[in-house]
């Protein structure tokens, strides 16, 4: 089994563990299958497809309604990514990066909201003199914005 494919399978394991679309049981099933693939000494495409299609997410089966021998290794990996309800246009690497980042942001946002909730329960004061800057209303703030002088409120 080639190293790239093994590496992809390891990444898939991480993707599965980060996926928000599956419960613990589903994750366990997919991880078992990926594990089984990793332990095989050679790749039997038909068997791989059988194993992967055993996962009960029929929505994506039509996409790969091809003969098993026409599927490449990367197709199999992409198929698993699709089964995890991720966009097919993502590569395995940027899917993993997306999920890692998403997971980190979820954690960060949760901490941020908890922090604000804690402040809501306290009496807040604001000083007279505050410094400001200008930012776009939407995300994607740019650095070129002009800083304005300290203001009095």
């Amino acid at each position: 089994m080639n190293e790239n494919f093994l590496s992809d399978l390891s990444k898939l394991e991480r993707i599965v563990s980060l996926s928000l679309d599956m419960d613990a049981k589903q994750k366990g099933e997919v991880l078992d299958r990926i594990n089984a693939l990793k332990s095989k000494s050679g790749i039997d495409i038909s068997e791989l497809i059988d194993r992967l299609t055993n996962i009960n997410i029929s929505t994506y089966n039509a996409i790969f309604d091809k003969k098993a021998d026409k599927l490449t290794k990367s197709n199999i990996v992409n198929y698993v990514v699709l089964m995890l309800n991720l966009k097919g246009s993502r590569t395995i690497d940027n899917t993993l990066a997306f999920l890692e980042n998403f997971n980190a942001n979820i954690h960060k946002r949760s901490s941020y909201l908890q922090r604000i909730q804690g402040l809501k329960e306290k009496k807040g004061l604001i000083g007279v003199r505050q410094r400001s800057c200008v930012v776009p209303k939407k995300n994607g703030f740019e650095k070129r914005r002009v800083e304005v002088e300290p203001v009095f409120r």
């Binding site: 942001n105 941020y112 909201l113 922090r115 604000i116 909730q117 402040l119 809501k120 306290k122 009496k123 807040g124 004061l125 604001i126 000083g127 007279v128 003199r129 505050q130 410094r131 400001s132 800057c133 200008v134 930012v135 776009p136 209303k137 995300n139 994607g140 703030f141 740019e142 650095k143 914005r145 800083e147 304005v148 300290p150 409120r153």
Partner: protein
Amino acid sequence: MENELVVSGENGIKYTIKVIDIFTVEGYPDKEYIAYTFEEPIDEENIKAYISILKETETDFALLGISDKEEFEVVKNSFFNMVDEK
């Protein structure tokens, strides 16, 4: 709104702020900063955002102005970097 806080000014008037982020900055380990807006428009695309030092006790918190211009520069750049990453 989950990111809104009510704060009192020294004139006794209550203001509602929308918190953009609460963060720390390298080089100022003992301070915590808060970025927020009053949703004051500058023009159609931009609003004014404020960055203050967040001082918190068990019962109160205060948004203190950053008096040191150099500190504000560092904090502002750190804030923009964080926002760019989002």
